[in-house]
């Protein structure tokens, strides 16, 4: 391990990308994500990589997809307005099975909103933003150290499942500096490449584990990439059997592996009467609130999804257990709360604690909420 350093979340993202093997970045600067581009602009050329500032975010993800099919690990980073522009290409990468990482440092919205304020307004967009129905992997770090860790993981998942992976965090995580010890070694995953003969190569032939090999353009294998529904050669088809098989396989690639992909953290949930559901920076406030509530005798707990998508439903169900109340705290008008309701509304009361004024949710306001709900439970028992 190296020494502790004071680094910003956005810098940790750039360093995580480099550690994971990212050697191509294309992007368009936007607050509060610009430092990611700034760091990679400085460090990629020296690492044998390429940095390109594109004309906009549509082109940025297009260039990333191109670099990835050229064999590079590639990433872009943006914020809400740019993330909106990238949605079409996210769908293309999901359909064409191109590994890539998209980082969205969330700021207040909608539209250009509040460029320098934190928000969690893009978490449903990260799942459903592109059209047509597709699987999604979305990771939500809650600290500078975890930004590094999950950026590495995003590349590994993208390379393992040949799919776009999104990392979402908010302006506070992106801009705050924390003392962190970054590992000097990380485990990295590389995409599956074909090893059979070049002649007669069928890029999308059925694979037992649903993950088809991905050669780089230039490796010698001839194949075709398209956003249209394709057959085993990669060429467009409208055949219902092949269409159904492709779409089922694309979903299975994430659904069947969700136990391996899903991740969540729990804190003092075992005997909790009231659980806070929170992710990203809000989970940091919630953990503090839970700790303080426990000191006052309130049996509080925290559930933090680390993967927002696939949603760790089983882990949430287990954590909620016999708790009577779940407070869903988000810096948006209520997005992940719908997943919480889907999982836990039959056994617990789901209470929103939402904030959309550009200010982060504080430990004090969550502590007040925990006290209030705990008191309400006692009253109910009386």
């Amino acid at each position: 391990m190296t020494e502790a350093r004071l680094i910003q979340g956005n810098q940790a993202c750039a360093e995580g990308a480099l550690a994971a093997g990212c050697r191509f970045f294309a992007g368009y600067p936007i607050t509060p994500s610009s430092e990611i581009a700034e760091h990679l602009a400085r460090s990629l050329p020296g690492a044998g990589g390429t940095f390109v500032q594109m004309e906009d975010e549509i082109a940025s993800l297009g260039a990333v997809i191109g670099a990835s099919v050229g064999g590079m690990k590639a990433m872009t980073a943006t914020s809400g307005p740019g993330f909106s522009l990238m949605q079409e290409h996210i769908g293309y990468a999901a359909m064409a099975e191109v590994p890539c990482v998209v980082v969205d440092v969330m700021r207040g919205g909608p539209s250009t909103g509040l460029p320098t304020s934190p928000s969690q307004g893009d978490v449903m967009q990260a799942r459903w933003g592109t059209h047509g129905g597709h699987p999604a992997i979305v990771l939500a770090p809650a600290s500078v150290a975890e930004v590094f860790e999950l950026t590495v993981r995003a590349f590994n998942l993208a390379e393992r499942f040949h799919t776009p992976v999104t990392v979402v965090f908010d302006e506070v995580i992106g801009h705050t500096r924390e003392s962190v010890v970054l590992p000097d070694h990380v485990d990295i995953v590389d995409r599956r490449r074909p090893d059979g003969p070049v002649e007669g190569f069928l890029p999308k032939a059925a694979a037992a584990d649903d993950i088809t090999p991905l050669p780089a353009f230039g490796d010698g294998y001839r194949y075709h990439l398209t956003g249209l529904v394709y057959d085993e050669r990669g060429f467009p088809t409208t055949d219902p059997t092949q269409t159904g098989a492709l779409l089922e396989r694309l979903h299975r690639k994430v659904d069947a592996y969700s136990p391996e992909i899903e991740d969540a953290e729990t804190f003092m949930t075992e005997d909790a009467d009231v659980i806070v559901f929170a992710y990203g920076i809000v989970a940091r406030a919630a953990r503090e609130a839970v700790r303080l509530a426990r000191e006052e005798g309130v049996r509080a707990g925290l559930f933090r999804p680390v993967t927002l998508w696939p949603f760790p439903a089983k882990a949430l169900e287990a954590a909620v257990g016999a708790a009577r109340t779940v407070i869903a705290a988000e810096m948006n008008h209520g997005q992940m709360i719908h997943e919480v309701e889907r999982v836990a509304a039959s056994t617990a009361e789901i209470v929103p604690h939402l904030r959309v004024d550009g200010e982060p949710i504080s430990p004090a306001e969550l502590l007040a909420k925990l006290r209030e709900r705990a008191a309400a439970q006692t009253g109910g028992r009386g």
Binding site: V172, H175, T176, R177, P360, P363
Partner: protein, 181 residues
């Protein structure tokens, strides 16, 4: 929500006073002393020429919530920063003000310390840019928050090489101010 081993410090002043750099130096000095720290700053239009702010949280162990919530120390280096941040300051907090930027002592706070911080920076480097570093010297002498050697090392590694000597001098001058108090 300060408490236990957690200490929260805010440096607030005008753009160009080196307030953000000083905050980073303080946080880095804490790490060099074997403690943990976080640093946050205000981004956006307010950081361009108007009020500038830099918050540091220092603790012995892992820091839960990384943003300042209940300041232990506030340093104000401009009148605008005084107007904006002093009203919300808790009674027990230590307040350090620049005596020229903030005229008068009418706030009645028992923990207010007044020093010619801006003037000292001007005297040493001929501009306001080292004001934040002078303030760090004051803080070190006044509060003992961070180790003097760590602070000096952090100043040396954060500022450009050709400014190092002047900044070390600024730090020492601040320390002298604090010690004289």
């Amino acid at each position: 929500m300060s408490g236990g081993d957690r200490t929260e410090i805010r440096l607030a002043g005008a753009g160009g006073q080196g307030v953000v750099t000083a905050g980073r130096i303080l946080a880095e000095a804490a790490i060099l002393s074997g403690r943990t720290s976080t640093h946050s700053q205000v981004f956006g239009p307010q950081s361009r020429g108007g009020a500038s702010r830099s918050d540091v949280v220092i603790a012995d162990a892992e820091i839960g919530f990384p943003l300042a919530l209940d300041l232990d120390v506030l340093v104000v280096l401009s009148e605008a920063a005084y107007t904006r941040y002093v009203p919300e300051l808790g009674d027990a907090a230590t307040l350090v003000v620049d005596e020229r930027a903030v005229p008068g002592t009418g706030d009645g706070r028992p923990q207010t310390h007044r020093f010619p911080i801006v003037e000292t920076a001007h005297r040493i480097v001929g501009s306001p840019v080292a004001t934040g570093v002078v303030a760090l010297g004051v803080l070190e002498a006044l509060t003992g928050l961070v180790d003097a050697a760590a602070l000096e090392k952090a100043v040396g590694s954060r500022v450009p090489a050709h400014r190092r000597e002047a900044n070390i001098q600024a730090l020492a001058a601040g320390r002298d101010l604090g010690q004289a108090a």
